[in-house]
């Protein structure tokens, strides 16, 4: 017998909600190796506005979930601190933190959410959510770094749903009274409509909302329960992108990558005070130098003066036509009702109000550096 040559690309992966997406009229595209809905029948603009006005349900099960398990919190936190600049040691039970995996140059290998389990019987457990496109590389990097007494357990059997918008709490508490007690960036295990879930108060839209991790075989029941509420509509990846852009949040592979440091990316706030002093993470020398002296380039928000969107890779020039940077995400903000972009510029142009030119289809268009977020965050802080 001979093996057939494997010349075909791997078939697209599907999430546990694939059939539901199809039945809801989802327009499916390939994203990070997964068949995902880019929009439903309402369309990107309508889905974006519905999420800001009421509540939207997103399938983000393509993202990588895993548990990091050690003998106690200190052991597990220190193991992950060897790769991340956040202060993870100080995480309290049920607390969540945004951080980055770094490479030896202090570039961003991936960005991720880290949650310390709130269950007293699970001291030493951190839950990780990483980007779909990076999960295999991330998990390999983490495993190669871990000490013997800390193990990475991948969780491909879990789905991840995000319920986002000003009515998310109203909707979720109809099925889970405990969710109301969660503050922004905290998490707990609770039942939603009788289904065991890990719920965190977080998201990627700038709105209040929840991310819900659940065993894949129960995900459709949960999704149907939430979609049964009159305030909730299914939302695709198109609106996910416009919502996060208005919220000023980074998209890996676009606004941050192996070449950008957290300091240049405007993420210095995620680097713990103790970590700034002690170092002990990859690329610490570069990052400490950038914290002290400032990076050469900085990520900034940009508002074009006209109506034409400036897309990713648009050149940014100063008023004397010198190249000073590049757009890393750009488009149209449905809630802003105007074009918007983010990108990197030389630090001497990285101040609010700085006048720059965006070269769109060969024509320089005036734009201004502007503070982010473009649309104020509405998180439910403690």
């Amino acid at each position: 017998m001979t093996e057939a040559p494997q010349t075909q690309a791997a078939p697209a992966a599907r999430t546990a909600l694939h059939a539901l997406h199809i039945s809801l009229g989802g327009k499916m595209i390939l994203f990070a190796g997964y068949e995902m809905p880019v929009q439903f029948s309402l369309g990107v603009l309508g889905e974006h506005q519905h999420t800001r006005a009421q509540a939207g349900l997103f399938d983000v099960s393509h993202m990588g979930q895993a548990f990091l398990v050690g003998v106690n919190h200190e052991s597990t936190a220190r193991a992950l601190e060897a790769l991340c600049p956040a202060d993870l040691l100080s995480l309290k039970p049920g607390q969540q933190r945004y951080t980055q995996l770094l490479n030896e140059d202090g570039g961003i290998f991936d960005d991720l959410m880290v949650t310390r389990s709130g269950d007293p019987g699970e001291d030493g457990v951190l839950m990780l959510v990483v980007n779909a496109s990076r999960k295999e590389a991330d998990f390999a990097l983490i495993e190669a770094t871990l000490p013997k007494d800390v193990k990475l357990l991948r969780a491909p059997h879990r789905a991840l749903l995000a319920l986002q918008g000003p009515m998310a709490e109203l909707v979720l508490t109809r099925h889970c009274a405990d969710a109301a007690a969660l503050a922004f960036m905290t998490a707990g295990s609770m039942k939603i409509a009788g289904l065991d879930c890990q719920v965190s108060r977080s998201g990627y839209t700038g709105e209040d909302g929840f991310e819900i991790s659940i065993r894949a075989e129960r995900a459709e029941r949960l999704a149907r329960t939430l979609l049964g509420e009159p305030e909730v509509l299914p939302i695709g990846l198109g609106a996910r992108d416009s919502l996060r852009l208005e919220a000023g949040l980074c998209l890996y592979g676009h606004d941050i990558d192996l070449t950008t440091s957290p300091v240049a990316a405007g993420l210095a706030w995620t680097i713990g005070k103790r970590r700034r002093e002690e170092g002990g993470f990859p690329g610490a020398a570069r990052i400490q130098a950038e914290l002290a002296e400032g990076p050469q380039h900085r990520r900034v928000g940009l508002l074009p003066e006209g109506r034409a969107p400036a897309r990713e890779r648009t050149e940014i020039r100063d008023r004397d036509d010198a190249l000073i940077g590049v757009v890393t995400s750009g488009g149209f903000g449905p809630s802003l009702n105007a074009p918007l972009a983010m990108g990197y510029v030389a630090s001497d142009h990285a101040h609010d109000g700085a006048e720059v030119m965006l070269v769109v289809r060969g024509k320089p268009m005036p734009a201004r550096v502007t503070p982010m977020p473009f649309i104020p965050h509405r998180y439910r802080r403690a």
Binding site: V38, V44, L45, G238, S242, R307, A308, G331, F332, P334
Partner: protein, 125 residues
């Protein structure tokens, strides 16, 4: 019934005499999704058949719009600057892009009529 001709790239031209009104078809607007910006040629611009004459942008991406035939731009739909969504709502009516004075009307023979375009759409997806 207006005499409308179509390209394989989903532009249309509604012909009246030696001039025509150009836009994108209902199929095109559906495929693009919500349109947020339209870049139109200048009045007086000379456009050549199958060359880029306009740009249409949805929330997600920018797409070139090609001239269905050659000619001179004699009017543009300035209302699209404030109301780009008209392209979604009424692509063959209020969502028109520009009017063209044809320089070579025989180029129209290379375009599809209503029936041929409908049959062409059947072959897609």
């Amino acid at each position: 019934m207006a005499n409308i001709r179509y390209t394989r790239d989903h532009e249309y031209i509604a012909i009246d005499g030696e001039a025509g009104t150009v836009g994108i078809t209902d199929h095109a607007q559906k495929a693009l999704g919500d349109i947020v910006y339209v870049e139109l040629p200048a009045v007086g611009a000379i456009v050549a058949r199958a060359e880029q004459a306009a740009v249409v942008e949805s929330v997600k991406a920018a797409s070139d719009v090609f001239a269905p035939v050659s000619g001179e731009v004699i009017a543009i739909n300035s209302a699209l600057e404030k109301q780009p969504g008209a392209v979604n709502e009424d692509p063959l009516g209020n969502g028109w892009f520009y009017r063209l004075q044809l320089s070579n009307p025989s180029e129209l023979e290379g375009l599809m009529d209503e029936a041929a375009y409908a049959a062409y759409l059947e072959t897609l997806d």
